[in-house]
């Protein structure tokens, strides 16, 4: 059993190794020492308790988005629209936060609930077309990202702009805050939500009848159909849940970190989450590790420009290399699989 698991992740480890090697070569080409860049990254990400908290702060939205992606992948659905669901969820939470006055705790829960609903509602459109007309969900969810990002910008600038401020909404009331864990960092209980969610989702997939059916829809759809699982309905449900968690990620980011919604408030977390989930082979628990990896890259990069001659963009390059090598690895694996007459993930 352990061997199988190791084998399942060996491809991922090789993919990261190849990406880091290529990244090192690029760093050499811009005239910097890869070792120095690596040490700076490590110091920036884990150097002291504030830096660790900063890394965990970056990890939180990536983790929740990663879990959202895992839910989709498990049921054979590629939700590439998490970024958009995150933005809508973030805006929805902010709106509840600044428009209503509710007791503490209840205010937070109400804001998170609307964030979840907003994410689910946003993915419901592509999910419906997927179930009804077999529209490719990859394309429709990607496109829905642009609409979501621009729609929230419109809300922010034209409908709810804080007078005199930047392109941002009024601040939310303190009753809606997600409380911070430490005094020295903005790190908040959103991280706990992410961890609980990852473990909870993993348990649901492993230990419930519903999770079994969904897993079979993802890995062997014709077998699931034969066994009486409603493949179309479960595909719809899975996308809806994935979108709901994507919306939750936005709510957590708004209530825990920014305390308002602003344009471009959480760029790329949705995509980082998807990559983290792919890197984790669709396992929510393994996504904790991969999300931490991406969170560390993000927070470590803050020190790069201060301490080395490498630009912070080198991190984006390394991330892109990881995406390339992971997708190459997924494609290679899929080619091997499809020769045996099956497809794990479909585009």
């Amino acid at each position: 059993m352990m061997n199988d698991r190791l084998r399942a992740f060996s491809g991922q480890i090789i993919a990261i190794g190849v990406a880091l090697l290529l990244g090192a070569i690029i760093i050499l080409m811009v005239g910097e020492s890869p070792v120095r860049v690596l040490m700076t990254l490590l110091r920036g990400a884990f150097g002291d308790q504030e830096k660790i908290a900063g890394t965990l702060l970056q990890t939180t939205p990536i983790l929740i988005c990663g879990v959202a992606a895992c839910i989709g992948l498990r049921g054979g659905m590629f939700n590439v629209g998490i970024e958009g669901q995150l933005f809508l969820g973030g805006f929805a939470a902010a709106w509840v936060g600044f428009s209503f006055s509710l007791p503490p705790g209840i205010h937070t829960l109400a804001a998170l609930a609307l964030a979840i609903a907003a994410g689910a509602a946003w993915v419901a459109i592509p999910a419906y077309f997927r179930a009804r007309y077999n529209t490719n969900e990859v394309v429709s969810t990607i496109l829905s990202n642009y609409i979501a990002v621009l729609l929230t910008s419109y809300f922010t600038i034209f409908l709810f702009k804080r007078p005199g401020g930047w392109s941002e909404t009024p601040p939310i009331l303190a009753t809606a805050y997600l409380p911070e864990i430490f005094s020295f960092s903005r790190l908040n209980w959103g991280l706990a939500i992410g961890l609980l969610l990852a473990v909870g989702v993993a348990l649901v997939f492993r230990y419930t009848s519903w999770g079994y059916g969904v897993t079979m829809v993802g890995s062997a759809p014709k077998f699931a159909e034969y066994g009486g699982v409603n493949v179309k309905r479960q595909g719809f449900v899975v996308l809806l849940l994935s979108g709901a968690v994507g919306g939750l990620a936005g709510g957590v980011e708004t209530l825990g970190v920014h305390h308002r919604f602003m344009e471009g408030f959480a760029p790329g977390f949705g995509f980082d989450g998807l990559i983290a989930a792919l890197l984790a082979n669709g396992s929510p628990v393994a996504t904790i590790v991969t999300a931490l990896f991406f969170g560390a890259l993000r927070s470590g990069s803050l020190l790069l420009e201060v301490d080395t001659s490498a630009s912070r963009e080198i991190i984006t390059v390394i991330q892109a290399l990881i995406i390339l090598s992971v997708s190459a690895q997924v494609l290679i694996k899929r080619r091997g699989d499809s020769q045996a007459g099956e497809r794990r993930w479909k585009f």
């Binding site: 009848s209 999770g211 079994y212 062997a220 066994g227 045996a340 099956e342």
Partner: protein, 520 residues
């Protein structure tokens, strides 16, 4: 473009287009082609007929250089040739139209035809010339294709013609078609045959793979019959009758003895009344089937593969909608129910394509035995799975069905074909259903496992289950079935008692000859 169609053949010395001698091809322990000799004369339409798995496609893939034979030699136009790859085959004047087309949907017909060998002018693609050449060829062979149309907008039938054009443009003088009519409507098939005749009229040679008797009789000059990897015979089509052909395809070898049985008279469990269904091309595949299966009875369905058996099984299991008719299982009409509801009503199903429908190859044996009962106690309580109970049950099934595996945690893909089938049987035969729908239970399964599977089916009969057994193996049906229904072209042609399974009568009906029309 020196050897364009219509120009004289490159090597016109030999009257034989293709000579294969003693071709043998093994895949592991499985012998796909066993010492096959095949001679195809220039200018004939040569049909290669046989059931699924008879070795037709393997043989053609060897001829076209996609596979290398383990033994044997190939002569093309009288010259011994090593066909190392398809490029070598094309160079020698061969062309192959595969079952699955390889076209670029966003490009025009002409661009697809010339893909990889574009006509160039001043270094640019000469679209006008490509369109012109495509139009000429299309006209000459009656293909009726508009070279400017985008491929993505065209039907499958037209796509096939484009594949044929591709082969022609590459200078093929001998054209191999792998089950070309499988994707065509009857009208399109007739047009294809016209085109094939126009090829031989121009001195070209056609090799045509099929398992449909009718079309082989209609279009071919010569037939070669393959069975279980061996050549049965090569004969001029005019000397053959349909039922002779069926007998050669299906064979007379009997590997199973008839199972002894007690006469059981149970009530009707499944009643099918005038059932109709369409296939994936939207053509009627099941046409008015009516029959009854009683408790404690094995009803066999015989027929050459592709005569509606698959679609019938899919309708009865809820995987395909019926277009008309009823199928009552213990008082409920299956045609109105979802697959889950049909299982609830009392169906167990051993599917014909077990690797895709029957199992998740990557999942464990335990997870595979759970399918269909994941909402039922004791495996699930309040929606929560009890993996201990599931694994315990899987372990017991491994023992009682003699599944050769290390444990219930083994992924199914590590098992042999016979043991995978036993996993399917173990799951389906223990779910308490009264009606067992069993499709090709022993296809691709070794002899030892075949016997074990037959034992199990007979045990289920003795336990009073109603069993519908679909098989293309006559000896299997003769060994197990109480009654055999013969399906041809979507219809039930007639019924034969299992202990009096007269192969000649069954063969006639499988060939589409109705028993009522014969003098008794």
């Amino acid at each position: 473009m020196s050897n364009a169609p219509g120009s004289p053949p490159l090597h016109s010395t030999s009257a034989m287009a293709v000579e294969l001698a003693a071709i043998t091809k093994r895949f592991g322990a499985f012998i796909a082609n066993d010492g096959i000799d095949l001679v195809v004369r220039r200018g004939e339409i040569h049909a290669i007929i046989g059931e699924n798995g008879a070795g037709k496609t393997t043989l053609m893939n060897i001829l076209f250089g996609l596979l290398q034979p383990d033994e044997g030699s190939i002569r093309l136009n009288g010259e011994t040739t090593v066909v190392a790859d398809p490029a070598a085959a094309i160079k020698a004047g061969l062309g192959m139209v595969h079952q699955h087309f390889k076209l670029v949907p966003s490009l025009s017909v002409a661009d697809n035809v010339f893909l990889g060998m574009e006509i160039r002018r001043h270094g640019l693609i000469d679209h006008a010339a490509q369109i012109e050449r495509t139009r000429d060829l299309s006209k000459r062979f009656g293909l009726h294709v508009d070279p400017t149309e985008r491929v993505g907008l065209l039907s499958v039938g037209i796509e096939q013609r484009i594949e044929i054009l591709k082969v022609l443009v590459r200078g093929a003088r001998t054209i191999i078609l792998d089950e070309p009519t499988a994707v065509l409507t009857p009208q399109e098939s007739r047009e294809l045959f016209q085109t094939l005749r126009s090829f031989v009229a121009e001195g070209m040679t056609v090799i045509f793979i099929s398992h449909h008797l009718e079309e082989v009789m209609e279009v071919s000059d010569t037939v070669t019959v393959l069975r279980n990897g061996r050549k049965v015979a090569t004969r001029p089509t005019s000397e053959l009758s349909k039922d002779e052909l069926v007998r050669m395809m299906v064979g007379r070898e009997v590997s199973f003895d008839r199972r002894p049985r007690a006469a059981l008279h149970g009530g009707a469990v499944l009643e099918v009344k005038d059932l109709w269904a369409r296939d994936d091309r939207r053509l009627p595949a099941v046409r008015g089937a009516s029959f009854t299966v009683r408790a404690g009875e094995v009803v066999g369905i015989a027929g050459v593969a592709g005569n509606g058996q698959t679609e019938l099984a899919e309708v009865l299991s809820g995987l395909r909608p019926a277009s008309h008719g009823e199928a009552w299982l213990k008082g409920r009409d299956l045609t109105m129910l979802s697959p889950a509801a049909i299982r609830e009503a009392g169906l167990a199903h051993v599917p014909g394509d077990r690797m895709v429908r029957g199992v998740d190859r990557n999942a464990s044996i335990a997870a595979n035995t759970l399918m269909g009962r994941q909402h039922r106690a004791p495996w699930s309580r309040g929606g929560v799975l009890d993996w201990k109970a599931i694994a315990g049950n899987a372990g017991a099934l491994i023992k009682s069905f003699d599944i050769r595996a290390q444990g219930s945690g083994d992924p199914v893909k590590r098992l042999s074909g016979g043991n995978i089938q036993k996993v399917v049987l173990a799951r389906e035969f223990t779910n308490g259903a009264d009606f067992l729908l069993i499709d090709q239970p022993t296809r691709g399964v070794d002899i030892g496992a075949q016997e074990a599977i037959h034992d199990e089916i007979m045990r289920q009969r003795a336990a009073g289950r109603a069993i519908l057994l679909i098989s293309v193996q006559l000896d299997e049906l003769a060994a197990l079935a109480d009654r055999i229904l013969v399906m041809f072209n979507g219809r039930i042609m007639g019924e034969v008692a299992g202990d009096d399974a007269d192969e000649d009568r069954i063969g006639m009906m499988m060939a589409g000859v109705s028993p009522e029309l014969e003098p008794a």
